[in-house]
Symmetry: D2
Subunit: 435 residues, 4 copies
């Protein structure tokens, strides 16, 4: 990894220097916020420590520029291999301190050199989170096509190919230290009648059971549902109900993963979170934000209160001492108009913001208001936590971990993107658009 | 029941006379449709017989004029008691032959004379379907208020009152020959924080278990979910996932009821039907149609193809020989601008239409197209059944049961509404509107 | 007005005493926030002064408990007349200093004594905002029914009655000092075919022109659109496009009013605001919040960022020196589970919060980011203003106007509600529910 | 064009032979339907003639396989050039007789040989409909990028490039006999703050005015709005209101084009049609169907009643003698899982079906029901037209024009696709997917 831009450009020393200019203001702001919180009986450092311990995985594909079916507009310096993706991920981790693991996606991240990949990650101090399989695209040389489905295809040969690919993903993940497989399929139908809805689900359960059987004992299967896209009439795992039934059928290692953009309009996502906690089947999240569909925008950019309310459920579940709540947090965004590194840093921080705000909720008081059906004051109690400016907590948590007080500013002055642009010739292969 | 308008105005003889004028055309149309279907290998009488055997319950409250929170505009001759509601229901049954049972709602249908009610129904040749409890309104003299919930209220006294009311409903239903209790509650929250989402659900399960325990051995509990309204932020039983989990928790007599208007925008309802069939927990339907929310419009009036696709799932489930599929079909509509008797007749017929169309689907051919992923022809196969004009089948099914070929026309010429208007002084108590 | 509870219970002296206990903390918080803002080049008092000058009208009907078609659960001490409504409104104004005007609704607020009403308002230091007509309900003794429409009814006699009512509202409003008539109708259809869509709109324009002709020269007509409810298939003025065309047709005194809850799911409301500003036809707002439909929840309670983005458009329009931007701000909420006085105070403050946050946006910097298409930093610029805790600004603005630092707390300790409960016997007439 | 598969495989003679086998049944069905309609006072041939005169344009891009951002699964024999696209279009026209014109899209259809293109079309008896510009994608060698907008970009150089491209499209279209330019842009923002909403719209008007100025005197500008995608927070021309204001600003040759998939959830599209007819600004349609977003599914495949209601508005507008109603009908679909030729044929026929059904509406009777507010019978009047099986009319209209009674069957037995597969090597360049 000699001379990788991450190592050269975002050194601890550079972060320290950038922080030095901001530290005095931060210390003052932090102290003042601490005094404000003390007035409400909250010890600020306990919140800061919790925030500092928060971690979210970066999806390897997230560091490339995304696009829509209409177009993709690449930016300079995009990573061309999984190794270069890890470099970008390490920059995010160095600057935010919140993203120590990477979530791979196969075959996109295929490499003949798994040992080299592990070594590269070790050198960059990165670990590996859940592995993602891909049976929603065909790749050159593939025997069977996924045009009409993968795990639920009517042809057993296609199903077998998709199952085998998932098992291969588990094997690679096991070599890398992953502990979970995330299963998202695009299978479904574009027209009424195209698919027998009942039989497609039965085929899903049958195929998923074979994948489940291949899980190492300490692994989890994370089932991700989605309302629509790429299927436009019926998606086999379309909502949390179908996801939960599948998890129940498969066994105790199967859990449901909630992607914030995969629901019907107006759906109350925090209720789904609460129900899956009740069912003991909440496995984790794909964080992003959206206004219309699966927009895959930066977390917290459209409806930050919704993000807060989701974290509020998680903190409430901890407060109610829900056992065995182990969640895989991951960002899953498509960065069409921003530098992906910047968006991912920003999004990780938004999750921390929502988490910090949730930790400020006075739960004992809230509980009393709820018991008394004092809807107004209960609502205000949440809202007051949300309107508290937790910026100093987030910055202090970063600084104490050796990360940047101002990650975006530090990144921009580092020259990292320009260096990548020089070292990584443009990848234009995805630029055409699919209409 | 001497002199009840139904008995006087919609006599078998009047129906026969009205039919007589239409029968020749019908016979010709029926014969010609029969020839067309024969060309496709379908025996028309088998479809007609199935349609003639189709039954849907009338909700007792449906025969009164509905309204919105803005206003209610009553029409002349509204029923003032459960006895008068039965009269109206019997008119619907005489004219359509498809609605032999009534679904009561307590305390709306409260009467001191259950035996008299049963006798009245017997005289009118009506039976009783699922009983509906009501814990979303307060009535004068009630000890506890449901303002902040019923089965999920934070105060155990309120929960007990709501449980007791449900058990009372079961007792009344048992006297009347009902075999199911439909459980819909409006419980929820209008604001984030108002309610602890997890605990409210736990309280629901605890309360519902007590009701479940009071079910006679041959009864079923039908759990109805709804996305929103009257609660505007979070509803305790908000979707089929929460409904299913509750049914699983309660036991084998608990089933999920699907109201067509209780879902998020764009949701694929036929998939929910399919999933609940898979789970062996589909209990029945509240039929209506909607464009925006829980509009409670006449079945099939807004999106008739959606209605067809739901019936298509049911016929497909039968075709796949799904065991133990016993469904409670009920209309649940609010008639704000039409004569309720007319809307209910029309809606019952729309269900029969969708059912008849579903029976025309060539399932063997459809299955082959599905196996071959011939999306276009599979889609056309459903669509061709839907575009077939089954009017003659519906009319013939009615005629053969002694009902009206043209129920609306026959009703209008009967003078029934005018007679009711004369006999039933206006009920204006609900006219004010709630904004 | 001798002995009205407002005068007795919420005296300036009581507010001062309550404030005295909170003032020291507020002064410190305010000073610290001032220092923080100075760091960003913002002078805190300029923001506080703007916030203190912000005004929003209270709808007279808002001080009563609302409900849904399923039920209304009244609370003790509800106002029984427009005079008592004014008392409640004056409490809100005394405690928040942000709500000096009341928006009346006829015939709900009908009184034989307009002069007495004006005198009562003067004594309470309240003015009158836009007048609202009501042609979506029938009242006893009315000649024509609005069941099938009012301004767009097929029968000219109904249209004339509705026109006359609106002109009567203008006359009453003129006596009271109002300067605008808000025109919202529920006219529409529940079923395809019920109404000729084109002709209904033509009738609307014809009727509205007659009302427009009766406007005094310094009055405005505010046209309010709504997607659905009470009409469930087609509403005559269903969106801002139909509203704008009507305003263009009627003349320069006609403007469009935006109710935040009257749009399709996912619609970007701030864009509509921007377009109506462009068209020079934005007339004002009905503020509230919603998750599903026209939920009429407290402003800012569900999606506070959306509220901020709407205010951001208004501040941006001022910054771009848009001429003639005169807006009628009004709350329009239904308080089903809270004390209406508390919800209205809270909502007025939420508007001030969004306004204050919008004033913190560094528009010169934002403009540069926009010019450079720096999407991330542009987005962060808005977000940073939103995440700033402006609580001290809001409280200081209130205190400087003689209002309460803590309006809810001061209200609760005043005993006002209990006094009302004692003086105003319960009004149960609306309790029944309309299903 | 020697040896083009269309000429070889779908000859008039082949169609005649295929028709010969189906004609007897058709004649009988047609006669019987005619008798049924006569009973209702409708002369079947007048409907058939109107249907036979109906025309809809084929989009050149529609004959290739579509895809989503996740993947594209090409099928064998895809056209590789605009000439091959014309071949496919001619097949659709020969078999359906309803699609005599093609709508081109530049630069996708760029060719150095415009005269040759015209000659090819003439030989295939195809004309050219509206020309479509493309400023939502970058192409190799382009000076300016559209990543951050085109006609509304903050940089005037980008705007000028986009304007020049549109003017070039007009020039090409003029050579080919087109009479309209369809203007759809993807411009907008993904994040609040990214774009100044007001200024972006002003730039749109300024740029569009320059394009408008270049229109030949007998041309029209068709402005197409879209709620979202590719922009995910704010789209500059987001709804019909913005589209209408733009058309009003630009001048009398500017009209609004309605794409059925470009609206918010639940929106009543037929009302928008009605309003644009009222404004005299309805210019045409992009037909397709959708359940969730801009799904671009086959017309009538998801909600055929909605399609009928749109045609009902158009027929009603004719019936009301709306002057100057000249509409550009075009299909705009993405065929991901079907043979595009089959989907386009099927969709053209679905439009004819909706049109035929609309022509069956007894408008005089409907008008009376509407006048009387007989909502039920008015609704039934539309519904009865919709449930009439017009299949024989559609087939007869085709046969009389020399097209196929069974277009799909005739196409499949022609061997056309296999011949294309042999002659047109696979185009895999778009297969990768953009996530």
């Amino acid at each position: 990894m000699t001379g990788n831009p991450a190592a050269t450009f975002i050194q601890a020393r550079a972060i320290e220097q950038a922080n030095a200019r901001l530290q005095a203001d931060l210390e003052q702001d932090y102290q003042r916020l601490g005094e404000l919180l003390t007035r409400n009986g909250i010890e600020i450092d306990s919140v800061t420590n919790a925030v500092a311990a928060f971690e979210v995985a970066i999806p390897s594909w997230g560091v490339g520029t995304g696009g829509t079916r209409f177009a993709r507009f690449p930016q300079p310096g995009e990573p061309r291999s999984v190794f270069e993706k890890l470099e970008d991920c390490s920059v995010i981790q160095r600057l935010t301190g919140a993203t120590p693991r990477v979530s791979l996606h196969f075959p996109w991240d295929q490499t003949g050199d798994i040992a080299g990949l592990k070594a590269c990650a070790d050198e960059l101090k990165l670990g590996f989170d859940a592995v993602n399989s891909n049976t929603f695209q065909d790749r050159p040389g593939q025997t069977q096509s996924y045009k009409f489905g993968s795990l639920t295809h009517t042809d057993p040969a296609v199903r077998e190919q998709a199952i085998a690919h998932n098992i291969e993903c588990i094997k690679i993940g096991a070599q890398l230290g992953s502990k979970a497989l995330t299963l998202w399929i695009g299978d479904g139908a574009n027209f009424p009648g195209q698919q027998n809805l009942a039989r497609a689900y039965e085929r899903y359960l049958e195929s998923a059971a074979k994948i489940y059987a291949a899980l190492p004992s300490d692994w989890r299967l994370l089932i991700e549902h989605k309302m629509y896209e790429p299927a436009f009439y019926a998606t086999v795992i379309q909502d949390w109900g179908s996801s939960l039934m599948a998890a129940q059928t498969l066994g105790p290692k199967a859990f449901c993963l909630v992607d914030l953009g995969h629901h019907a309009p107006n759906v109350n996502i925090e209720m789904i979170v609460s129900r899956l906690v009740h069912a003991r089947r909440l496995g984790g999240f794909h964080f992003n934000d959206s206004k219309y569909g699966d927009d895959d925008l930066d977390a917290g950019s459209i409806d930050p209160y919704r993000l807060f309310l989701i974290f509020n459920e998680l903190v409430d579940a901890q407060w109610r001492k829900t056992p065995d709540l182990a969640l895989a947090h991951m960002l899953d965004q498509s960065h069409n108009v921003t530098d992906p590194v910047e968006s991912l840093m920003s999004s990780a921080i938004e999750l921390q913001r929502a988490y910090a705000q949730s930790l400020l909720v006075d739960r004992r008081t809230l509980d009393e208001y709820q018991q008394d059906n004092d809807a107004l004051m209960a609502s205000h109690t949440l809202k007051r936590a949300f309107t508290t400016d937790v910026q100093p907590i987030l910055a202090m948590a970063r600084m104490r971990r050796g990360a940047a007080i101002d990650p975006i500013g530090t990144y921009r002055s580092s020259g990292y993107r320009a260096a990548c642009a020089a070292r990584r010739p443009a990848n234009l292969s995805f630029g055409g658009g699919i209409v």
